[in-house]
Amino acid sequence: MSKQIKVALIGNPNTGKTSIFNSLTGLNQKTANYPGVTVEKKEGICKLDRGVKAHIYDLPGTYSLNASSMDENIVVELLLNKNHKDYPDLAIIVSDVENLKRNLVLFTQVKDLKIPTILAINMSDRMKYKGIELDLSYLENHLDTKIILTTNRTNLWTDTLKDLISNYNKLPSNKFMDPQLIDPEYFKNLQRTFPEQDLYKLWVVICQDANFTNVDKNFLDGADFEIKSISELKRLQQKETIKRYQLINNILKLGQKVDQSKAIGFGAAMDRILTHKIFGYVFFCLILLGMFQAIYEWATIPMNYIDSMFASITGWVKINFPSGAMTDLLADGIITGIGGIVIFVPQIAFLFMFISVLEESGYMSRVVFLMDRIMQKFGLSGKSVVPLISGVACAIPAIMATRNIESWKERLITILVIPFMTCSARLPVYLIIVALVIPNETILGVNYQAVALMSLYIIGFLAAIFSAYILNIILKMKKRSVLVMEMPNYKIPLIKDVLYTVIEKTKSFIVEAGKIILAISIILWFLATNGVGDKFKNPEKYVSQKIELLTENELQTEMAAIKLENSFIGNIGKTIEPVFKPLGYDWKIGIGLITSFAAREVFVGTLAVIYNIENYDDSKGKQRELKNIMRQETDKNGNKIFTLASGISLLLFYAFAMQCMSTLAIVKKETNSWKWPAIQFIIMTLIAYIVSLIAFQLIS
């Protein structure tokens, strides 16, 4: 078995750890979660010389080993537990060249845990713009480590870093600071009580917050040792930080020169515009509009190609596979259902690409800052902003991200309103309905469909903050959290980092949604192709006109429609139709709404399966595309089903309804009660129904 080295990438938030991780591991990476918490765990493999492999762990960003949140605690727990399966042989501390002093606090703390450590000073290409000069050999000597300058612009440094990783056992593992400098009396007493233990490690264990740590503190019980109060421990932590800054300052005085006259203040000027109380919002709206327009325009060609491809595959299967129930299930159920979601891959990939570019450039942090102002007016504080914005991708991690909100009422309100945010599961539904009912025309270069899509995102956001406002009054919130966040530097996003994000997120969307859609498509197909009663078994007896007057194609189409209406799913649909009729939907859309309570994106797959079974096509080898079938769908009187009125009504229903069982399950888990998900489900569905009803009745 080849040798394996475990390497932990550790650093403050926004130091570019993930870029270094991507450069070292390429696509050899996987993302999961740390057990029991919502914190993302990224692990990748880096191949070194002589068949040696390095397992690289991209740990959550942390400012110090004094953890104050769940994700910071992950880092501390790992570094304190030598028996942990991921305990690193080597730590690479990634620091930002512009914030070296602050970043070195964490570096010195990790070094004091006696873990071999490399200091990677990242974003080194910015040194010339900021007038920074570093004396690397001086710094290496005084910090007692190996230093590597890294940059996201090139990968020239990766071979040097790989060499350092390969030779990690030659790295010094001496301590940076004697912990007794913090408080001689306390630490002497501590060492006396636990002579076998490492003093600094012991101190870090004692300081961990009991609220979220899993660090074993049992050994402290019964010891002859004065346990300090939390406030006293905090005071000692402050003393430790001050001592570290003093030592770091002394080293940087000679190891780092900053010529402020050479520094270019580009970021501050950008911030003045992008976070301006008027222009900031105007700019944000323009970015959103551009993004949605691009999603529609750029994705059209690949979408049409995918649509035709799935139609051809369905036809090919029907011709080349032995005829029978399984072939029909494969063609009309499985391939059609999966095609109903795969078609949206280009648009979803473009959405993730834009979000990734906004995040990588540093602009998303400015959006959070902008939104904080609005949130405060509606009774929510800044800490709700990040979960709400995360809700645009998926409500589940967003709801979990509320765990860092201290006030329970504020957290509850955020959990309850997050599902109004337009998650990516709504996107396929919006895209197809908007394409069906909103004209593909432009005014002053702005596409109507893009405006409609952007409006739906804004409606979702407005619904979330108005609901929060009402809940704030009902629940009488007393305590508020305060948002403190660091604005990262602006930077040009790297194509490779954006691509990794797009591939990872799109794959996850397709795989997770695909499994549910596949299962529901199979069941739907079965229910739509089986039934009881004479009308289902002998549909030719119930054809509206004399059989002789119809062509073969017309006859088969009418018989397929009769069979579908009298199948199991048809009977279910007809039973529930009166509920949805006032909203402008027929029974088939009603079935789509019911199935999408499992997950919203199932709607498109459901309609694809139902319409494909119903539409007999004798062209052999080429099925009609879903959008065209939906566009031509009519009721018995020949009236179109997808009109502006029914389309808007449907869009609004999806904007407001709580149609995601996974979200309800996670709300139950986070609130520890079925009461809140039940209230959420009932109220959101009621709002959706009433708004859609009003919209349909007004427009039609």
Binding site: T31, A32, N33, Y34, P35, G36, V37, T38, E40, K41, P322, G324, A325, M326, T327, L329, C394, I396, P397, M400, S424, A425, S508, F509, V511, E512, A513, K515, I516, L518, A519, I520, I522, I523, F526, N530, A598, A599, E601, M661, S662, A665, I666, K668, K669
Partner: protein, 42 residues
Amino acid sequence: MEFNIQNFLVILSVGLAILYLVKKYNPKNENKNCGDKDCGCH
């Protein structure tokens, strides 16, 4: 529905699909983390 291999495969597929959905949405099955396989987050 008469018995033949295609019908058997259809019944098997429907059974597996139902089993998958029941397992996925079983409220007792809460020991899942977002990002894990089958967490329901998409």
